[in-house]
């Protein structure tokens, strides 16, 4: 008995030595973004000696909104450049939410900028607000690079409209995605009028250099991480579909073979964006998590057939070429700060949890997996999980609806009863939004601090 305990403690110490939680760089990054915004406002302040009248105030409000929009536009693109520091450290889900939020805000700034500037010019020419349309037409005709800027702004508005909740849900994913790609064209088109008509860039060569630097850096990052890095990855690893396995009704696993796949740097809990080069599938890529730790010659994803794309996966034939981008995602062992870990999976959210369950270092009894599904038939990958639990001495629990269809009670009290020292665990969680929200609240109620609940959600 004593020896077992001593062995357990030694093993735990061994494990803890490998646990070095890496702090997310989100806070320093956000501080840098704010500092940049302050610098942009300072630029305006510095170049504006005085404001004579209301027309001047309107025009200067137009300048401020324009400068901020120009600055944020670069960051909105940067957020989608798939920079590893953002995707793997901050987390793809969080960055995607930042992107959506700052995109909406930037579009509002653009609209305000156009309106205020044209209103100001109209007033300057002795016209009223009613002449703003004519004034806009005149300005587009007369000012340098304004034709391009007008087209770019039109694109931004279309992109913004296509992303409004109701419209986006009605659009096929591919259509929405390709409209969204027009952002690059819109940013390019609107860039030039900033330089040629922007007061602050005409006055301040340093500001112009900074602007070129900002946009140049973003362009370089996009080209590097969205174009060159995936090409290198796919040329090196040459992935193909090996087999498609039906796990439970509606959930399939796709086995993918390739060259030296363990060298891709993928960790358990991460995902790739997959593009299967089969008819009807090659034009869209979808994020699916790895459902097992990468092996030298094999990767596996497990997918629930909910959309067009995921339903077609089961028809994939072995040998189909695969184009993957990744690995992305921050829901990995790096987040861990404690020796004990509780994994919570809801439905097909089991995929990253299954990979973590297999690979998270830990002694017997350190790792617990709680798996929620509608019925026992829906517990995909159950046999594997049971085998892993057996081998590692990990705990495996499931919660399904009662035969009458009643939902299991996942409350703070129940969690505490099942896992008595739950407040000393790190919790990794993956599942549908409603499930994740209720489990989060139960966990907080059971005394788990928010910083130790690790969760990825692609809800905007």
């Amino acid at each position: 008995m004593t020896t077992t305990l001593a062995g357990g403690r030694a093993a735990r110490r061994q494990t803890m030595r490998r646990i070095r939680p890496r702090r997310s760089p989100a806070v320093p990054l956000l501080l840098a973004v704010w500092a940049g915004a302050v610098a942009v406002l300072w630029l305006w302040w510095h170049n504006t000696p005085s404001i004579a009248d209301d027309t001047g105030r309107i025009l200067n409000a137009g300048r401020i909104t324009g400068l901020l929009a120009g600055y944020l536009m670069a960051l909105v693109v940067l957020q989608m450049a798939r920079v590893p520091a953002l995707e793997r450290r901050v987390g793809s889900d969080r960055v995607a939410r930042w992107h959506a939020m700052s995109g909406r805000y930037t579009l509002s700034l653009i609209v305000a900028h156009v309106f205020l500037t044209m209103w100001g010019y109209a007033r300057q020419a002795g016209k009223s607000l009613g002449d703003i349309v004519q004034q806009t037409v005149d300005s587009v005709e007369q000012l340098p690079d304004m034709g391009k800027a007008a087209i770019g702004t039109g694109l931004f508005v279309v992109i913004g409209l296509s992303s409004i909740g109701g419209i986006r849900r009605r659009l096929p994913y591919d259509a929405w995605y390709h409209v969204h790609l027009l952002t690059y064209a819109a940013v390019f088109l609107t860039f030039w009028h900033q330089i040629s008509t922007g007061n602050d860039f005409a006055v301040e060569p340093a500001a112009k250099t900074f602007w070129y630097g900002l946009y140049g850096a973003v362009t370089a990052l996009v080209v590097w991480y969205r174009v060159l890095t995936p090409i290198r990855l796919n040329v090196r690893h040459r992935m193909r579909v090996e087999a498609v396995v039906e796990e439970t009704p509606g959930i399939v696993s796709v086995l993918i073979s390739g060259h030296k796949l363990h060298r891709m740097g993928a960790e358990a809990g991460q995902f790739f964006r997959w593009r299967f080069l089969a008819p009807g599938m090659r034009f869209s890529s979808h994020p699916y998590s790895l459902s097992a730790a990468p092996r030298p010659g094999m990767l596996r994803i497990t997918v629930k057939a909910i959309g067009d794309h995921s339903a077609r996966l089961r028809e994939l034939t072995p040998g189909t070429r695969v184009w993957a981008e990744g690995p992305y995602g921050a829901l990995t062992a790096q987040r861990r700060s404690r020796g004990k870990v509780l994994l919570v999976a809801g439905g097909v959210g089991i995929t990253p949890m299954r990979a973590l369950f297999e690979t998270l270092p830990g002694a017997a009894g350190d790792i617990t997996l709680l798996y929620r599904a509608n019925t026992t038939q829906d517990l995909a990958l159950w046999d594997e999980l049971a085998a892993i639990a057996e081998e590692r001495g990990a705990r495996l629990m499931y919660a399904v609806n009662s035969p009458e269809g009643e939902r299991p009670d996942i409350s703070a009290e129940n969690l505490q009863r099942k896992v008595p020292d739950i407040d000393r665990h790190d919790v990794f969680m993956c599942g549908p939004p409603g499930f994740a929200q209720s489990v989060y609240e139960a966990l907080r109620g059971a005394g788990v601090p928010a910083r130790r609940i690790h969760h990825e959600s692609f809800e905007m």
Partner: protein, 255 residues
């Protein structure tokens, strides 16, 4: 996993942005510190107004010193008659990029203001503050030179211009859809040394078009020395009227 409140977020972001912009705008002084100091230097300006105040019948053309601005130099030339500014023009003004437009916008207004005020105490054109400041400086330096030039008027003409045979001719007003255009030219030794529009379309969009087109047409007239000048795109009617009036002025000058 904290609860998100989209509406609250939108309201907060909008309110924060609007208040920040309003705050920044309201913290800016209503007038330029440079203007304020110029206004403080009142004695200097009085000195500049001497020619006007004095009964001396000083006339001729004076060119002020070029004043450097962030966008380039501004240099003002005045035509002074009986101690009064009868004409003001910029012989140098910022060029290139947006500056072209600002110059086109500001210079005609500043010229007019200089003639009206008779001094360098004129308002800046909003949106062209630097150009306005430079203009005022050069205008002041031109005014400072007026007296010596005026006192020298008895002797040989000071400055390069001002030969006796220079004369001003005003063409017939040409009617256009938007209003009449009338051109006045100064002819010296058979050459157009200056051209200006004494009448041009006004009101609504016309103001803007006039501001855009007339300075270009004036310049083109001096450069071409004839009425064979290109129309300014976007201001075709004004350009045509200008050419007609210019031709009529040239006809008179030729007589």
């Amino acid at each position: 996993m904290r609860k998100s409140h989209p509406v609250r977020r939108v309201v907060l972001a909008s309110a924060a942005t609007v208040s920040a912009v309003v705050l920044l705008l309201s913290l800016k002084p209503a007038s330029d510190p440079a203007t304020a100091s110029a206004a403080g230097a009142a004695p200097q300006q009085t000195a500049g107004q001497r020619p006007q105040g004095g009964a001396r019948a000083g006339s001729g053309t004076v060119t002020g010193d070029a004043a450097q601005t962030q966008y380039g130099a501004v240099q003002v030339r005045l035509t002074v008659s009986a101690g009064k500014i009868t004409e003001a023009e910029a012989v140098q003004a910022p060029k290139g990029g947006l500056s072209d437009q600002k110059t086109q916008l500001a210079i005609p207004r500043l010229n007019q203001a200089a003639v009206t005020a008779g001094s360098a105490d004129i308002d800046s054109v909003s949106g062209a503050t630097y150009t306005s400041e430079g203009y005022k400086k050069s205008l002041q330096s031109a005014l400072d030179k007026v007296e010596p030039a005026a006192s020298g008027a008895d002797g040989p003409a000071a400055g390069s211009s001002g030969p006796a045979q220079a004369r001003t001719v005003t063409g017939k007003a040409a009617q256009t859809q938007y209003g009449p255009v009338q051109v006045r030219i100064t002819v010296s030794a058979g050459k157009i040394t200056e051209a200006e529009a004494v009448q041009a379309p006004k009101g609504g969009l016309s103001d803007q078009k006039t501001q855009l087109a007339i300075p270009r047409l004036n310049q083109a007239a001096v450069a071409a020395g004839s009425a064979d000048i290109d129309a300014v795109s976007g201001a075709t009617y004004t350009s045509t009227g200008y050419r007609q009036s210019l031709q009529s002025a040239l006809d008179q000058a030729g007589d």
